[in-house]
């Protein structure tokens, strides 16, 4: 692999950047692998990367129905934060935030991680109580999060309208300064390139059509569009399509798939310094390095795999943004799209072994999986390699729905669902 550096950049400038070469191979699948990961999004590619890098397993395939990073990895609003309520979640998301810091160097790929701060607005007494509870819980768990008055919030984010004459005035905010954004495509590409370098086969445009089980019940391999591929271990990291894949192995998972939408505006000069979100009136906005305002809308409240949603959902979000940031009222929107997110009953993910020996699942990230990409991939790789859950992943088991030990993060998940 060509190592990216300033020298390399200067050298390639002489050939008008025509000779960079491919970032990863396009191999045909082998007959057998030690581990197969189904789904080449950020979490899946990251899992393959950490399996190869930290656990010495090199005979790995990542199988993807479409193109890599084309699902929710390429469709989200790229927000990174770790201000969740419970200790289990704080450990998981903080693990991710620690890995984000330094990920570009680790992968030799600029993922454009920018810790510009994530501010969550409070509009009601209930919001104040919930957010202050979060701030205190986070402080005890060692997660950075602080409470701001409306004036302090405006100082941090000058476009914010804190006047009292709007429908839902801003009455305070919780700010996580280490939160921010990263370039979502670069995360998928960076993991893909680094994993490929370690010998991982990334097989795109190859749908998995079945999961085969041996006579003893354990996993034998997967049927794909390119034939049967044998594997001792299979990890399913397929977001909205997890239920469909787990059905193939005869396992029911507590998930429902909903459409989640996002939109971007025309690109403008830097105008918006941080990430602002409001759960109550559902505004969710930041500005990308390209200059577009990136806006997250809500979910449609029914099961759908359509990767589109109702127009009333983004309109609702735009209404809130126009009131909170009057300077964006005449901004034109460029594109609107949808993804399919897998939502669990307690809004926390599932990173677990399944009742089928050799079959593992990483799913249920719902509306907020991007922020956890490195952490999720890292602990899932450990879970697959050691055949037992990583200590951070252990609480996020499938069994919790039977034992009742749920990790309820409905208030911390930004999108109402």
């Amino acid at each position: 692999m060509k190592r990216y550096s300033f020298l390399e950049l200067a050298k390639n400038a002489f050939s008008a950047h025509h000779n960079w070469g491919r970032q990863w191979r396009a191999p045909e699948p082998k007959a057998e692998y030690d581990v197969i990961i189904v789904g080449a999004g950020g979490h899946g590619l990251g899992t393959a990367y950490y399996l190869a890098k930290e656990h010495g397993i090199r005979n790995i395939a990542v199988i993807e129905k479409g193109w890599l990073g084309g699902g929710n990895t390429g469709r989200n609003t790229t927000i990174i934060r770790s201000n969740y309520l419970w200790e289990e979640s704080a450990a998981l998301y903080n693990h991710a935030v620690k890995l984000w810091d330094g990920l570009s160097q680790d992968l030799n790929y600029n993922v454009m991680y920018s810790a510009r701060g994530v501010m969550m607005l409070a509009h009601t007494v209930h919001d104040i109580q919930v957010f202050k509870r979060h701030v205190h819980a986070n402080r005890l768990a060692g997660v950075q999060n602080e409470w701001l008055t409306p004036e302090e919030a405006k100082e941090y984010c000058p476009p914010l309208n804190i006047s009292k004459n709007i429908r839902y005035p801003v009455v305070g905010a919780a700010l996580q300064r280490v939160g921010g954004t990263a370039r979502h495509d670069a995360v998928a590409w960076g993991y893909a390139r680094a994993a490929d370098e370690l010998g991982v086969d990334i097989i795109q445009n190859c749908a998995v059509t079945g999961i085969r089980r041996a006579a003893d019940g354990s996993v034998e391999g997967v049927d794909t569009a390119k034939g049967f591929i044998k594997a001792k271990k299979v990890g399913v990291v397929a977001a909205g399509h997890t239920s469909v894949l787990m059905d193939m192995a005869g396992i029911r998972v507590p998930l429902e798939s909903n459409p989640l939408q996002a939109l971007v505006s025309e690109p403008v000069k830097p105008a918006f310094p941080c990430v602002v979100m409001s759960n109550t009136i559902h505004a969710y906005i930041s500005q990308s390095d390209k200059g577009e305002l990136v806006i997250g809308a809500g979910t449609d409240q029914f099961v759908s795999y359509s990767q589109t949603g109702g127009i009333q959902i983004p309109i609702h979000t735009i209404d809130a943004i126009c009131e909170l940031f009057p300077m964006f009222r005449r901004m034109r929107m460029l594109r609107n799209w949808g993804g399919t997110v897998d939502v669990t009953p307690d809004r926390s993910p599932i990173i677990a072994k399944t009742p089928v020996p050799g079959l593992f699942v990483n799913c249920g990230w719902g509306t907020g999986g991007f922020k956890a990409t490195p952490g999720s991939a890292n602990v899932f790789a450990h879970t697959i390699a050691k055949d037992e859950p990583h200590p951070i992943a252990a609480p996020f088991s499938l069994e919790r729905f039977r034992t009742g030990r749920l990790i309820d993060e409905a208030a911390a998940a930004a999108v109402a669902h």
Partner: protein, 101 residues
């Protein structure tokens, strides 16, 4: 935006008047105290989540306020059948077959 037919009001109205209330035909256990943890988990949390034809409960919240059931394709979001609460669950495979013709 979806157009939904309410079988009680007997009119087609926009999705804004309705709320989806999850999978249909999930009955609360008749004798809760005899249920095992697995059965409770199944009743509370496990849903079908199919990619294809799905039977679900809808409520005409800004109309008559009543619950009814609908069969919908979760890929196209198209409503294939609407029926009143209490009517038996229709054969989903037959409806799917008919819709694909």
């Amino acid at each position: 935006m979806l157009l939904i037919y309410c079988p009680y009001c007997e009119v087609e109205r926009s999705e804004l008047e309705f709320a989806c209330r999850g999978e249909a035909h999930i009955a609360r256990p008749a004798d809760p105290s005899t249920q095992s943890d697995e059965e409770w988990a199944e009743y509370l949390y496990l849903r079908t989540n199919p990619k294809g034809v799905h039977a679900e409960r809808w409520r005409h919240i800004h109309g008559c306020g009543r619950f009814f059931n609908a069969v919908r394709d979760t890929v196209s979001d198209k409503f294939l059948k609407v029926y009143k609460t209490g009517e038996p669950k229709p054969g989903l495979e037959a409806i799917a077959k008919e819709a694909n013709q």
